[in-house]
Amino acid sequence: MAAVIEAEGLTKRYGRHPGLLDLDLTVLAGEVFGYLGPNGAGKTTTIRLFLDLVRPTRGRVRVLGAEPRRGVGERRRIGYLPGDQVLTGRDTGRDLLRFLGDARGGVPRDRIEELAGRLGVDLSRSVRSLSRGNRQKIGLVQAFMHQPDLLVLDEPTSGLDPLVQQEFLAMIGEVRASGRTVFMSSHVLAEVQQVADRVGIVRDGRLVAVDQVAELGGRMLRTVEIRFTEPVPVDGFTGLPGVHDVLAEGPLLRCRVDGPLDPLVKAAARFTVVDLVATEPDLEQVFLSYYHEGGGEHGAA
């Protein structure tokens, strides 16, 4: 599959403040890529580099096959939602959207109206009189309306109520179904978990991990509870590879497992197991495990 975004050693410094450091990343066509990180981690800087709003201090990036600086024409194939509610002005939403549509070579008016109807925003009101959530909807309409090959969305669900969030996720699903690509940043993990094929986790300007959403769940943290017929010795379980925080209370054993369950299961098989419950972690825990210094380590016993 073709690479839609390719970054190599992409770095942006603002004076001494590192905006983004040595980003190596490839996003393939048809993929939904979730870009996760706390505020200030470098998500917006990355996105603004893709759009040629800021220029790299060093390194390279190609978006839709072109360097952003030389790819002015390619921008009609990109749908961009800026991060912080920047749409403003006296004009109505309809006028603003028509201008943006014209700038991209024309967007059918029906399509604008349809998207606005779907998200539930009134296009006849001036943009600046709209609430935060409604302005975000206008932002989404302009990002989706020309059916771009690549959607670059900075915190797309911020300010949206849960019903509209679901509608937005459905729209992302449709984009993926049509083989187009989405790069979206977020600090809300639940939404990324629902739609993304892969996620990258960025912290202090560095991409610290990239993984398939499914793999992250498989590889990472699990909370396991095993009930035996009789009390078991803790010693038999501490020190197993990937097993941490072992706690035994009578016949009940609790622990956290990082990675495959096999060593724990093999060890447990020496006793009579009544019940075994493994709770799959949500991305939030996974994310936090990365985010805490020394990413991936969990206070091992």
Binding site: R48, L51, L53, V54, V72, I78, Y80, V86, R90, A103
Partner: protein
């Protein structure tokens, strides 16, 4: 219209339409109010003289106040001498700010530039929109002056009024283009206003002092204000050389704006 004009130019004209109407109305009102007092000055040349003589001769010369009792002198002193060009310049500077730094600070410029609109094209279309608005303001000034000139029998030839209005337009464009050039170099809105405002004040003073102080005279040509009223267009009509100097300065500044804006980070 929608197929003829580029989308951003149309958008800019929409953004500026209130401002264009407001400033044109302001300029017209200014002309009407001041010229309305002309008959009193004409009919009481002594009073006019007294009020003029309260100001020292050299200052009068510096300000271009010659004679209140002739139509040309009156227009020079009240309409075209001072405040009106400064007001039109202020309009140009505001348009220049609105072109880049204001939407840059709100973040709206991100949305514009994420479209197939190049940075240079943005500067050029914003300058075109600015030119359109200022042309409207100066056209309003011309029309109001021309009408009052006829109604009050001020006796100023039409081509002289036109020459002065054109020079005022080109003068304002210089400072509008300067605002764009500074905005092209830096995205800091306060700095843009400071640099532009300081340049307006400094070049205005340079021209005025150049008339008062013998030693400063050679440096007057450096001031755009000199190329505006220096050749005395209200008395002598069009001076293509001076008009070309003003247009040339604008062209250079717009080129600087486009080149600099092409290179820098936006919204940092």
């Amino acid at each position: 219209m929608s197929t003829v004009l580029p989308s951003l130019l149309r958008r800019s004209l929409r953004e500026y339409r209130r401002l264009a109407v407001g400033w044109t109305a302001g300029a017209v009102t200014w002309v009407l109010v001041y010229t309305a007092f002309y008959p009193r000055m004409r009919d009481q040349p002594e009073a006019a003289k007294v009020s003029l003589e309260t100001v020292s001769r050299s200052v009068r010369d510096a300000l271009g106040w010659t004679d209140y009792s002739t139509g040309t002198g009156y227009l020079q002193a009240t309409v075209f001498g001072q405040f009106l060009p400064l007001i039109v310049i202020l309009c140009a500077v505001l348009l220049g700010r609105g072109a880049i730094v204001v939407p840059e600070q709100s973040g709206l410029l991100d949305v514009y530039l994420a479209n197939p609109i190049g940075r240079r094209r943005l500067v050029l279309e914003r300058f075109a929109a600015m030119t359109a608005v200022l042309t409207l303001v100066c056209l309003g000034t011309f029309t109001a002056t021309w009408v009052m000139n006829g109604v009050l029998d001020m006796g100023v030839p039409t081509d002289r009024i036109a020459a002065t209005c054109l020079a005022m337009l080109l003068l304002a464009l210089v400072f509008g283009a300067l605002t764009l050039a500074v905005s092209g170099i830096t995205g800091r809105g306060a700095l843009v206003l400071t640099v532009t405002g300081a340049t307006v004040a400094a070049t205005f003073l340079l021209d005025a002092l150049g008339q008062l102080v013998e030693g400063m005279r050679p440096y007057r040509v450096l001031s755009p204000f000199h190329h505006y009223l220096g050749p005395d267009p209200l008395h002598t009509g069009f001076h293509p050389g001076h008009l070309l100097v003003l247009a040339g300065i604008s062209a250079v500044l717009v080129a600087v704006a486009a080149q600099a804006f092409e290179r820098r980070d936006v919204g940092v």
